[in-house]
């Protein structure tokens, strides 16, 4: 690698400079947003372990990895490289290669064609809607990665579901990494208008085992009575760095359900911020982290109860093997107005080796006095009596351990409403165990 940035400031400056050549383009309506993001990056530094939000995750290796933003390359990836990631349940699929929209790999059925597309195309018909929402949910200040992503904003998966529209088939957003030693900035932006319904699969995959950086931002805005199911799979290369921010805003009586699965990357960080901005809104946030080797996977969530009568349920599970390290920080904020809040959070962690590590931190900040908030955290190992039971039925120790590990993960996987994706994940957890 020729470009090394000695410290965090140099690193960010390097990234911004490498982008400037491309910054003048057609999307003038969004240039203000980008300019603001660039200004924000200039005032920030990379977080370090002295920052409370990053105390368990050392992100400093990034300063040694001054990977330039990826350039769009034609024909680097063929459709048959990607078939393994296609889901038979869905025909609507947007594919982004190293962050760049790949029209030739994407398919959109006739009906939703007005609702789904890449940002430049969608700007032609929906500029005012996009400009009044895009960048309004994911915080730029105090979040250098979100700011960087916004500074580099160009391609972006846009989904705008009109009022009273139910999109039955899940929509797959496939973000593929192909190049080594680049950074890419995938982005998605979803508006579910009143009484609409959508299932979204955000899938981060790679066809390279090399090192690269993915810095992704998703914004999801639910209008009154909207329902969104958001499935997020992070299966980047084992050498990758994956930094993700997702911001969700819920209006009156809307419902957001998410399942996020973290499997890949050397270091990954997922920040999920859910704002229950109006009464009777509900969210269910489930997560599964499955890591081994020297992986580090950090999930930070914040569920913000702003208004009364809202409900949130969260279950996060980590399965950690070898010398991997998982982090879960689950903040539940109940603001003074948010009476009659009903909230539950559970963090369950399974350590498969003596050197595996988990840091779990439930964080409840409750400023209302008439609320129901339950939380719990457990850390354990596979139960030797359970292993013996399975061995006594003829299963090898290895198979028994795999089956029990699978069992631990199963309830999260079963919440994914797409059968083929469930099966893919089950296989990953079982590691192709025979006979099941």
């Amino acid at each position: 690698m020729s470009n090394k940035a000695a410290n965090s400031g140099d690193y960010l400056q390097y990234l911004l400079n490498s982008w400037s050549a491309k910054s003048a383009d057609k999307l003038s309506g969004l240039s203000q947003l980008r300019a603001r993001a660039i200004d924000s990056v200039n005032t920030q530094r990379l977080p370090n372990k002295r920052d409370e939000e990053w105390r368990f995750t050392d992100i400093s290796p990034l300063t040694q990895l001054a990977f330039p933003p990826s350039q769009q390359q034609s024909k680097v990836v063929q459709a048959n490289d990607l078939e393994q990631f296609y889901l038979p349940e869905t025909t609507n699929r947007l594919v982004f290669v190293d962050g760049h929209y790949a029209a030739e790999l994407s398919t959109i059925a006739d009906a939703p064609i007005q609702m789904i597309g890449n940002l430049p195309a969608m700007m032609r018909s929906r500029a005012s809607t996009i400009e009044s929402h895009l960048g309004h949910y994911a915080k730029i200040d105090g979040n250098v990665f979100s700011a960087l992503n916004t500074a580099f904003l160009r391609d972006c998966a846009v989904i705008i579901v009109p009022k009273k529209t139910v999109i039955v088939e899940p929509i797959q957003l496939l973000f593929v990494s192909t190049q080594e030693e680049v950074s890419s900035y995938p982005r998605c932006f979803v508006i579910a208008e009143q009484d609409s319904k959508l299932t979204l699969i955000e899938d981060h995959v790679s066809i390279t085992s090399a090192s690269y950086i993915t810095n992704t931002v998703a914004e999801i805005c639910l209008a009154a009575n909207a329902h969104v199911q958001h499935i997020r799979i992070q299966r980047d290369s084992q050498q990758a760095y994956h930094l993700a921010n997702c911001a969700v805003s819920l209006a009156h009586a809307s419902q957001y359900q998410s399942v996020s699965v973290s499997l890949g990357s050397k270091i990954s960080r997922y920040n999920l911020e859910v704002q229950l901005s109006d009464e009777n809104s509900e969210c269910t946030i489930d997560g599964l982290t499955l890591i081994a080797g020297q992986q580090l996977s950090d999930t930070h969530t914040c569920i913000d109860h702003i208004k009364p009568h809202c409900t949130s349920h969260q279950q996060h599970k980590c399965i950690v093997d070898e010398t991997a390290h998982a982090v879960f920080n689950g903040k539940i904020m109940v603001r003074p107005q948010a009476q009659q809040t009903n909230s539950s959070q559970s963090s369950r962690n399974l350590l498969l080796s003596n050197t595996a590590k988990v840091d779990t931190k439930p964080q409840l900040e409750i400023f209302a006095d008439d609320v129901k908030c339950a939380h719990g955290a457990t850390v354990g190992q596979l139960d030797s009596e359970e292993i013996f039971y399975l061995e006594s039925r003829g299963l090898s120790k290895e198979s028994a351990r795999k089956l029990l590990t699978y069992a631990f993960a199963a309830d999260i996987i079963h919440r994914i409403p797409v059968a083929s994706l469930q099966q893919q994940l089950e296989k990953i957890v079982l590691n192709q165990m025979q006979g099941v």
Partner: protein, 269 residues
């Protein structure tokens, strides 16, 4: 049934075993032949369940002396799963709950593992479903059990029926049923016993580990052994169980107990 053509299935000689350095089995001798039903009785803490777990290969117990042969092979050299594949089955006193794994998935996995080991054909989910439903009729089990997680939320009786269902599926040569009657009401006990009786034949053997005589009214043993302080102190026919029921355990083996107490006292002196 005792059969003149029977072969020796299990041969235990002078078996000593301990857990965390504490001796639990202190010299067991037992021979079980095909076609036979043996009952092992005794008070809590006499070592009955330990014997069952040592036979199945539980790693918490260390065999410090003695030998166990299963069909002429050294059982102690085999890992628990190899013992199961060789045809040994332990019906657990407290079957383990496995949330997240459907019972049918578990049963098929166990069945196919054993089948493939015997060089027999494995069953796909549909074939297995037919097969297991037929076996479940033996035990009057509701087919709902297939879709529920393994033993999760099962009542005591349901768990025990699920154990016997596994015995029926795996067709072991030697079954050790550890306190299969505990937690069963009389109706459930009859159903379980009926199931076991249908599985038992002249080519397999069964060891019933039980505290009470009541199970033996329904599964009639050929031999009854009484354990005390990690030893078999008395062996008789089924009438011995009756006698224990009326007289309790106190009258047996007082000599051995006294001997042991003296030894312990001596060691502490």
């Amino acid at each position: 049934m005792i059969d003149s053509n029977s072969i020796t299935m299990l041969s235990i000689k002078n078996l000593h075993a301990s857990i965390n350095g504490t001796g639990i089995l202190n010299g067991i001798d037992l021979t079980v032949k095909s076609g036979e039903i043996h009952a092992i009785m005794g008070l809590n803490g006499s070592g009955k369940s330990t014997l069952a777990k040592v036979l199945a290969g539980h790693s918490a117990y260390e065999v410090t002396q003695g030998t166990i042969e299963f069909e002429g092979k050294n059982l102690l050299e085999l890992a628990p799963e190899e013992r199961a594949r060789a045809g040994l089955f332990l019906g657990f006193q407290y079957p383990v709950e496995i949330p997240g794994v459907a019972n049918t998935q578990f049963l098929r996995l166990a069945y196919n593992t054993i089948q493939s080991q015997r060089g027999k054909e494995e069953l796909d989910p549909l074939e297995f479903d037919d097969f297991v439903r037929e076996k479940m009729k033996l035990l009057d089990m509701n087919p709902d059990f297939l879709d529920r997680s393994v033993n999760e939320g099962f009542s005591g009786g349901e768990k025990k029926r699920n154990e016997i269902l596994q015995m029926a599926l795996l067709e072991p040569k030697l079954s050790i049923l550890d306190e299969t009657d505990s937690g069963l009401d009389i109706d459930a006990l009859k159903i379980v016993a009926k199931g076991v009786n249908q599985i038992i034949n002249k080519d397999n053997a069964t060891i019933l580990v039980t505290h009470y005589q009541r199970l033996l009214d329904y599964i009639v043993p050929d031999f009854v052994h009484v354990m005390q302080a990690g030893r078999i102190v008395m062996t008789g026919g089924k009438e011995l169980a009756m006698e224990l029921e009326t007289r309790g355990y106190d009258w047996i083996g007082s000599d051995q107990r006294n001997a042991k107490n003296r030894l312990t006292a001596g060691a502490h002196a």
